[in-house]
Symmetry: C2
């Protein structure tokens, strides 16, 4: 059996907890890969932190109301100090998003990479705002950063492109990336008011408290920026992407279109052009024959245009925190095969 | 620059030629991966063969009516002798399919593996009829066999499952795997007679000369058998899979359903059950809300049911020989990273 891979986790909300549960549930599968993960630290902004170099008892951490309950000694620390002191091989950053500059997560991620600590994150902010810098930092310090769960939850989109499409260039894409907008539009078609539909999306835990973030396209803009940077290799920050939202549509307009067999969707689009990439998040009226039109509920999906396979469509049905957590776990497994030797032999 | 990877190719029809053209067209991309492929031999059943340890001039081979024209000396040989004598690191088997027992391709593949020669094949026969034996043979002789293009053309389905979904179990799938049946049904909906629709599918080069092979579900049965064996790990030979076809449907029945918003498709289905797997190829009447119902033209696609991501859908639009050839190239690239050392340093 290999040495355990030590994980320092920042964030212990829906995704962090789902990740901890998944580590417990998938021990047999991990063992069959010769892997054992231990969480040696958890840091949260509002519910305390805990560090235990022998591995935290995850059952207890999941059952506890906050992390103070399970910490034996020591006083509160800041996130950066956690990154510096938690004995870990991988930093798992799953704190909640700051959509405007990616902080403080970006700072944690940079600190980790600068210390040759590989990073897995589900947090869109750091990647959208600093992808090239983070990749450069990781290369310089002989470590890696993976972020499968930032777009399409745990659906292996980045892995698909990186690991299964050698020599292929991505020319462009069209995708439905924001679950809340898509669900709200569907519920309005089915007869709900927009207000009620938004409340419903919040009730089931997929919408942000500030509904504008989803409905006015900010979330999709961040995701589109990530895809353009990673898949098309072009530096477009979120604010450089044309942004529209569904807020200006009226309920009657949405329902009238549906009766004519056409459906509103918030669609992210990007395409290479000479000297750059055109990218936007906009409301499109799609016929039922469009592959994206079948992305319903909280599902999301993307159509990749390539120079080898024409178009390739990949979509995931009704993902939730468990699927995001799976993407994080899959990234941790990928990194475990390529940890810096000094660390993995520690 | 690494040593060139030498490829012996069996079959030089649509796929073999598309593969040769792709090797020429993608030299820059391959070079950036540190790879150079040379084809050191091509064998065909009816148009001769050529072996040249320095690498065949592919431009000339593509322009020639047959391979006798470009061979300088030597007499006709049998396929097995070609496998034994062609100086190669990978055998690329893209000959045409024998749907009933996979021969003679199966014999070539076995001979190659037994000689520690890794194999890439787009040929369904050997995999459907002998997958476990071939994997065992490859393991025993320290080489590998890959077959991405046997199902869904070049769409990276097997790579997706193998390389991007660690610890995930595939519980079942539903897919549209036979392009001809799907296209014929669509053309009938659009007003063509079945006879004319079949002729059309043959004209555009996707249907077998013996239309029954596609329309009566034999092709889908082979592909379903491959998926069940590879993705679900259960040994089900083609004949153990319930097989239906579209031949018994009447044109009026197909059009009447379409007017009601429901569409006939030939669907491959498999699902784990206690002690095994249920698998079938059958005509299903799908509503427009079913993701598979949007697989049109010669496209194909599959919905995977997993224990980590709920369902994951992947589909490819209107693939042809170029896409199949890409799947073969991608497999060759994968194998190039793991060739037996003795061979790759030869």
């Amino acid at each position: 059996m290999a040495q355990p891979v030590r994980l320092g986790v920042i964030g212990f909300g829906n995704v962090g907890k789902a990740f901890a549960r998944m580590l417990l549930a998938r021990q047999t599968e991990l063992k069959s890969l010769g892997l054992r993960f231990v969480i040696t630290g958890i840091f949260t902004a509002r519910h305390g932190h805990v560090i235990d170099r022998k591995g935290i008892d995850l059952q207890r951490a999941l059952a506890a109301g906050n992390l103070w309950e399970i910490r034996r000694r020591g006083s509160a620390i800041a996130g950066l100090e956690f990154v510096r002191t938690c004995p870990a091989d991988i930093l798992v950053e799953v704190s909640s998003l700051n959509p405007f500059n990616g902080e403080p997560a970006l700072g944690y991620v940079k600190e980790a990479l600068a210390r040759s600590l590989s990073v897995v994150t589900a947090n869109k902010g750091p990647i959208a705002y600093a992808y090239p810098r983070l990749v450069e930092l990781a290369a310089r310090h002989h470590c890696r950063i993976l972020f499968e769960s930032t777009v399409l939850d745990g659906c292996p989109l980045f892995s698909l492109v990186r690991e299964t499409l050698p020599t292929t260039h991505i020319i462009g894409f069209r995708g439905i990336l924001n679950s809340t907008s898509n669900l709200v539009l569907q519920k309005i078609e089915e007869g709900m008011s927009m207000k009620r539909a938004i409340a419903y999306a919040q009730e089931i835990g997929i919408a942000e408290t500030n509904a504008s973030y989803d409905l006015d396209g900010y979330d999709a803009q961040l995701k589109t920026s990530i895809l353009v940077q990673v898949l098309l290799g072009e530096r477009l920050t979120p604010s450089q992407i044309t942004r529209g939202g569904i807020g200006h549509l009226s309920e009657s307009e949405i329902r009238a279109a549906a009766r004519r067999g056409r459906h509103y969707h918030l669609v992210s689009t990007a395409r290479r052009k000479s000297g750059g990439v055109d990218a936007s998040v906009e409301v499109h009226l799609l016929p039922r024959t469009d592959r994206l039109s079948l992305i319903s509920g909280t599902s999301n999906g993307i159509i990749l245009e390539t120079d080898t396979l024409q178009t390739l469509t990949i979509s995931e049905e009704n993902p939730g925190p468990d699927q995001t957590a799976y993407g994080v776990l899959a990234d941790c497994i990928r990194l475990s095969g390529s940890l810096p030797k000094a660390r993995s032999k520690e």
